[in-house]
């Protein structure tokens, strides 16, 4: 099967400031179905810029980008937006959930537009509920974001990203606002999704988080300087178990100390 993402010699130059900023300088990359990529690099190395181009939120200055075989250069704005909503799902660092709206309604949001418009309200609801089940929050469907923990909010946001049945899930620092334990919980959801065949590309600063992915890319000054399979891949489920056991052990020792 052909790669779901094929980019060739991609460049991005921001001309808005006084001096042009060459943020991405010739990235060539194939992403196959089922991959799970961590995009790393120092601040300002061009990770978000590359992600924005992958997400069709911004057009490259130079180079070609085939998304599922379609050359995005040949699409006008509306066609590009349609393609984006069909093929891609997004997860953000700051969850971006609507405050006065239940988890379920937040997940439904992307379906109010685009190709799901012809679906009935029940079908939309069913699909959103299914996505909440995938992230393990079906029992919380009627909760408001402020009644959910940070990790749970991010899981709702992931369910929202899944609702249009994307081929690729793009996440820019999805664990950036979470503590380490909650990050493991969210990475567990990503791993489960990846096992079910969804391609994931995520930006992260933390090496610990990158080890949950399958392939690690490192950017420096807009160039890929490292592209390798993740070393000592961690499985979130195991890690959760380990953390729980360590916690229980800590409780025992503190209880023993108290006695």
């Amino acid at each position: 099967m052909s790669p779901v993402v094929q980019i060739k010699d991609l460049h991005k130059i921001y001309e808005s400031g006084e001096v042009p900023v060459h943020a991405v300088r010739g990235v060539t990359l194939d992403i196959h179905r089922g991959e799970f990529i961590a995009l790393m690099g120092a601040s300002g190395s061009g990770k978000s810029t590359l992600m924005n181009m992958l997400g069709c939120l911004d057009r490259p200055t130079r180079g070609t980008y085939l998304l599922d075989g379609i050359n995005i250069d040949e699409l006008d704005r509306n066609e590009l937006a349609d393609l984006r909503n069909q093929k891609l799902g997004f997860v953000f660092q700051g969850f971006n959930l609507l405050a006065r709206t239940t988890a379920l309604e937040n997940v439904e949001l992307p379906m109010l537009y685009g190709r799901h418009r012809h679906q009935s309200m029940e079908q939309i609801r069913e699909r959103a509920m299914h996505c909440l089940e995938i992230v393990g929050l079906a029992n919380r469907f009627d909760h408001f974001p402020n009644q959910l923990s940070g990790g749970q909010q991010q899981r709702v946001a992931i369910a929202r990203g899944l609702v249009n049945e994307p081929q690729v899930l793009l996440a820019d620092e999805p664990t950036g606002n979470l503590d380490s334990k909650t990050s493991v919980e969210v990475m567990g959801v990503f791993q489960k999704l990846n096992d079910q065949g969804i391609t994931i590309v995520m930006v992260t600063h933390e090496l610990d988080i990158a080890r949950y992915c399958k392939r690690n890319l490192v950017l420096r000054d807009g160039v890929v300087v490292r592209d390798a399979p993740a070393e000592d891949r961690v499985i979130a489920e195991h890690e959760m178990k380990r953390l729980k056991e360590a916690e229980a052990a800590a409780k025992l020792t503190s209880a023993a100390a108290a006695n």
């Binding site: 937006a81 909503n85 405050a99 537009y113 402020n146």
Partner: protein, 263 residues
């Protein structure tokens, strides 16, 4: 002592002290100066004597205040939506909204009288003018104060402008709207009385409380004037409460969802 009892008892006690001081000052004044401060008893007597007049005037003022306030809510929400559309619209219109707010009611009143005639219409229109500004400014601010990330999100999903308005902007604007509503509800009764003083009319079923105050003053019926002042004050309280209750009733489920989310 239970807190609620204390809450009722303390203001009542303050009231008694004020009445006593009032009576004392009245006694202290020389005979020919006592008209400056009629005794509490005389004011109460005037309230009873003029009850029919005052009641009618109260109804008239209430009608004007509620009409003007209701109109202000409707118009300001519509205008706020228009203003939220673009900074260009705001820059073009804000100076004139300000200008309207800056012009004192007594100056606007005669103009209103020329346009729509003295009486209820003028009172309603002037109340509208004064209640309208805090509503429109607050609501507009609420509509444009949505989280930038969420605006981006809606763009990402290609939401239509009306979807963005109802799903994102309106819920975000509700607390701002209610702030404006509270201010407007407080100044609407005051506005109605002032408007009535300047543009009231005794035609038909007689004027409102403002008009009545002008008449009593010109007739040197000072106890009656004080009685009118007390009525105005009471009306302000009642109208404020009524208007907020009305707003709460009509926005019940809307408001409720907002409360629920903030729990």
């Amino acid at each position: 002592m239970p807190r609620t009892l204390l809450k009722l008892l303390l203001p009542a006690l303050t009231g008694l002290v004020v009445l006593a001081v009032w009576q004392a000052v009245h006694e202290f004044l020389s005979e020919e100066m006592r008209f400056l401060l009629p005794s509490p008893g005389a004011v109460l007597q005037a309230l009873v004597d003029h009850r029919a007049t005052l009641w009618r005037a109260t109804l008239n003022t209430t009608e004007g205040a509620l009409l003007g306030f209701g109109l202000a809510v409707v118009v300001s929400v519509l205008l706020a939506v228009a203003l939220s559309l673009s900074p260009l619209v705001r820059t073009s219109l804000y100076p004139y909204l300000m200008a309207l707010q800056m012009t004192p009611l007594p100056v606007l009143a005669p103009i209103c009288v020329i346009w729509v005639g003295a009486g209820l219409r003028s009172v309603a229109l002037l109340t509208f003018v004064i209640a309208f500004f805090p509503l429109v400014v607050n609501t507009t601010q609420g509509l444009i104060s949505t989280d930038r990330n969420l605006v981006e999100l809606f763009r990402l999903y290609r939401a239509r402008p009306w979807q963005r308005l109802f799903l994102l902007q309106v819920p975000a604007a509700l607390p701002y709207f209610f702030t404006g509503l509270r201010i407007a509800a407080t100044i609407a009764p005051i506005g109605a009385v002032v408007a009535d003083m300047n543009a009231g009319s005794s035609a038909g079923d007689g004027g409102g409380l403002g008009f009545q105050a002008v008449i009593f003053a010109s007739q040197a019926r000072y106890p009656a004037l004080f009685a009118t002042a007390a009525t105005t004050c009471l009306l302000g309280f009642v109208l404020n409460a009524a208007v907020l209750a009305l707003a709460w009733l009509s926005l019940h489920h809307w408001h409720d969802s907002y409360e629920r989310a903030d729990r």
